[in-house]
Amino acid sequence: MKIQGDVDNAIKVLLRGLLEKGTVEAVFALGEIGDAINYLLVSDPAKIDSLRPTLPFMPANAANHLSKITAGGGLTQKIAVVVKPCELRGFAELVKRESGSRENLIFISPVCGGVIDFDTFYTGDSEKELAEYWKAFYAGEIPSNIRPTCAICEHLAPFNADVTVLPTSEGCELFSNTPAGADILAPIKEDIAEGQLDETRFEKIRDARISNREKFFEELKLEDMGIKGLVEAFGKCLGCHGCSRVCPICYCALCAFDSKENEFKPDVFDKQLEKRGGIRIPPNTVFFHLGRITHMSVSCVGCGMCADVCPVDIPVASIFTRAGDAVQKLFEYIPGKDFEEPVPLSTFIEDELTEVED
């Protein structure tokens, strides 16, 4: 379906229609609250106006909100959800961990040009930044004002979306991928372009991102970092653990690294000091990050929330995405690609990793 004009307006027309006809009970999408952007849950069609469904901004990875909304055991009424591809992937990973249910959620997801980081969006002139962003996107280029991990993300197009949105310079095109998607597009069906989304249409951006990714990983030199490199990278960490709280994969109610087990008893400090002559307080700074990497890297979707929330600008997302890339390749796993595919570390295949295990 080709719709002329502003892409957000087009989606809003669709969403308003869904609420008015009672096809869905509520709509979950980005919207304005004063000067701020947050996720909103809207059930009054008149309040659709405040939405900015395709805004390239991510105040929270929506997977965390969707997990909270559906963790009780699945919705009994339908919600139309407009989220970015990596948010949908994050949610799929949470569903596999029994921290959410996709039941009665209808996913609308755009081909994503990346998201503008917090500082640029809130401290800069956001309308100017947005204009630059869309100009680059429509020209098949990577916008310069997006999160570093967005600029290297190869999964621009959503997996598991019921409806895929392709923003174009004239407006947007909508593609239904599932019966649920066809249902919500039914009222405007006469306009729907037949067929699947032609991925070659954004291949230029994807290719650029893939080559960026290789270069970015090469320059990061994670393999050569060693403990010295990690101490340098995470030296300024404040231990706020904001990275873990905003991570869609870190779903534990109490992180192991915030638990009592991770705290030193007085005699441990005494012994450590005896041995080493000095000890960082609080201890275990690098240990926390390494631990978190081992816990979540297989499912890391590279959304970049962790780096954006870091008060001291540690490139957490770059390091974690790099580690995630390696672990995921090892298991031939794309996190969030499939709601059913088991998480590699929760399954055991006898013949697995023979090349590693010898």
Binding site: L75, Q77, Y122, E232, A253, I281, T285
Partner: protein, 391 residues
Amino acid sequence: MKKELSKPIKPSKGSLFPASKGCNAAVIEFLRKGIAHQLFESVLVPVEVPSGNSFAWILVRDDALFENADILPPVMTVQGGKALSSLTKHGSTGMKIAAVMRPCEIRAAIELAKLKQIDLENVLLISMDCPGALPIQDYVSNPEKGKEVFSKAIKAGDIEPMRSVCRTCIHFSITAPDLHIATKGIPDDEILIIPVNVKGEKVLEGIGLTCDREIVEWNSEIEMLTSERKTLKSEAIPEIKERTSGMLNLAEVLSKCISCHNCMAVCPVCYCRRCYFESDATELSSEQYLDRAAQKGSIRLSQDVLHFHLGRMSHMTMSCVSCGSCEDACPVDIPVAQLFSAVAEDSQALFEYTPGMSLDDALPLRIFNKDKELCDIERICADPLKGCDCK
């Protein structure tokens, strides 16, 4: 015995200590002497991290580690009270520790000691005249420039580049340490070490330093600065109050909140392992989300932004030392420290309580003063016959 040691004395004299290589080198020299005289075995002090872009608390025993120590770094990284809590919350370490911290970090440590999150038994608290701290985000983006700005500001006595709550801080000198390093109104090539209690006096004695220098000049300098700060504060507080008064303004100021709870995580006073506002108790069911959306037409997510901030405020406002860590850690630049500090000013005034100034001042919400408390608010006397100040 323990109580005797920490009982404050009215500081009247201090010991002049040579500082020809600057205050930092002098204090480190003093700390070395303390270790040499076995008055303490290790020192908790900020040390520049290997990449040179920030500072971390290091418990130092090996003399070589003092090389990159900075007793007054341009930024506050982990709040010192929080660091000391990490070190002693499961009990006192076997060794004696000297902790060199900013005045508001000392105050947080005192509050945490009252809350049983710090054991001060083997800790010697040392503070210094604090020029404020730079916003951490500015510093880490350009540490070299940050250092330059900080040292220039110290020389000029300029508070302008510092964090907003530092600009309105009136407790920037002696709060409740055992020893205080005075620099204001003291010649550049000297520091004045002032004992604030018997514990501090004994350390100076142990090192062989005599307290024969009057503190009058320093004192008048501090008084002058305090009155300047009071003026700044009296201008800033009404401004933030106006911006945040009433539910609508408050919601507006907090509208950018992404619920990362970094403010809580770095707050020295928020010591709960698991915040109530992150517990099951505040979770909503799917039906509740949909019901609320149906009732209001549209709801924001997270649903508990106001609830979280107001709840956190009610939990910690009495002990808020206005250290500014919360605002430093906010990824979307909400003036959270200014807001919490302004509210704390009022809630603390209500109980005539200044947090972190003495271990002997009981936490107001832990005690009940039957006869006098809050009469002016409740407008009823607990015992009218007995009479009280309430009229």
